[in-house]
Subunit: 296 residues, 2 copies
Amino acid sequence: MIVDALIEKIAETQNPTCVGLDTSLSYLPADMRAEGKDGRAAAEAVYEFNRNIVDAVCDIVPAVKVQIAYYEELGPAGLEVFRKTCSYAKGKGLFVIADAKRNDIGATAFRYSASFLGENAPFESDFLTVNGYLGTDGILPFVEESVKRDRGLFVLVKTSNPSSGELQDLRLADGRTVYECMGDMAEQWGKGTEGKYGYSRVGAVVGATHPEQAKILRGRLPHTFFLIPGYGAQGANAEMLKNCFRAGGMGGIVNNSRGILCAYQKRGGTYAEAAREACIDMRRDLLSVLGEICAK
Amino acid sequence: MIVDALIEKIAETQNPTCVGLDTSLSYLPADMRAEGKDGRAAAEAVYEFNRNIVDAVCDIVPAVKVQIAYYEELGPAGLEVFRKTCSYAKGKGLFVIADAKRNDIGATAFRYSASFLGENAPFESDFLTVNGYLGTDGILPFVEESVKRDRGLFVLVKTSNPSSGELQDLRLADGRTVYECMGDMAEQWGKGTEGKYGYSRVGAVVGATHPEQAKILRGRLPHTFFLIPGYGAQGANAEMLKNCFRAGGMGGIVNNSRGILCAYQKRGGTYAEAAREACIDMRRDLLSVLGEICAK
């Protein structure tokens, strides 16, 4: 069961870090940017960069998160590189999270589910991020495909951005906040799909930048694994994201994109070496607050 | 200003209908489905179908809505056909709504905005659907690009699917429902971008399948133009969607996908002829409740 396998890989690497391949062309060293070349050459430069990052980190991190917006911007050639990046990372033993935040009514959600999680998915991934604003019938096609093909989801619950509270922190008449309500729905959507460590196939996106809300959600959603953005460039430090985890250091995986991809700009060295060092430093930082991580 | 131009085109055609190019391979006549061929051949069959539909309806409807999920499912070749379909429809004088329901934090939303609305957008569209769960900083990049390039948005407010009420109809402590709150945010995001008919660049998706909520929203959001799904296959009839419009028949555009693309299965004739007849029947049906449509 894929969430169990992810948990075991996190314990094995002692590193609940997910490398965010939000690979903007502007992150590449100047000599790689393929300036003046066509869109396909630019996309291929991104792919080369991604491959080298994956090679540099694949033995010390459990997962990558590939943010599809950066590939859509490069058109069909960019989406081919998204596909190849997911496939390459998978081949190197990494779990692949497609960060696409897809959402639609049932019949259309089924198409997105086929695109990322289906048997012949062109953008095959292990996990997909989804937005639950449309309610159950917009999410069930993803859950059903996840069950059928041993895949998983992360539902946006409390996002890391500054404005996330405008809707998500509002209080409902029943006393819950909107993010608590969305968290309860995620917990409900995952019900019956729990693996041996108690986490279901339906995880939640919970930003490290909002530690008070993370604490409430961690207590409220016992079967929900967290994908945790916000560390590093977005402003959250290790202390702030402790609330996303249980005792024993389990319960989530922390994404870092720019802090790893662009580490070479601060550290010097090649981008691949710098990315590896950044992952090692991040592990040290996370473990300093989480302690030894146990698969449980 | 693009919303003014859309309104004038609706008045000119006397047809507030948007043809939904949610072109599933399964909608194509059997001899077009390119069975056993590769993904690219399947995608090209979809493009041929779309071209013929566009040719058949472009003088009697103002717009198409292209649902990207159906193209993502066919991989990069499908996305190339999405791009070509948008471009072809635009060339035939139709307004193009990219139905992608994109959403993310600001820096990433900017990438999606560049993908669909930007100067060199690979998936160039006139309007884009977006999901506002993340709040203002996730929407502003789209609004800014819309202002810069004379484009528009439709924010998901009250969706047409059966489960939409699970979150959207919940009552907040301040007395509003969640969909009213999202509608208020859409109205706010569009503020200052209104055209001569009073509608802003930030529209709202309001399902015809929920007439009570549509009535409330139509009264509450004076500057917000509606994209109205749910007519036909999803169960809404003309009487139900009257609430989405103002007196004078203006204020929104009604999408129909399967009812037009698959009309040939019920009516006989070629799919293009049947699609045209379905658009004419739909116009008659809509005008029977809306009366003559005035640009105002």
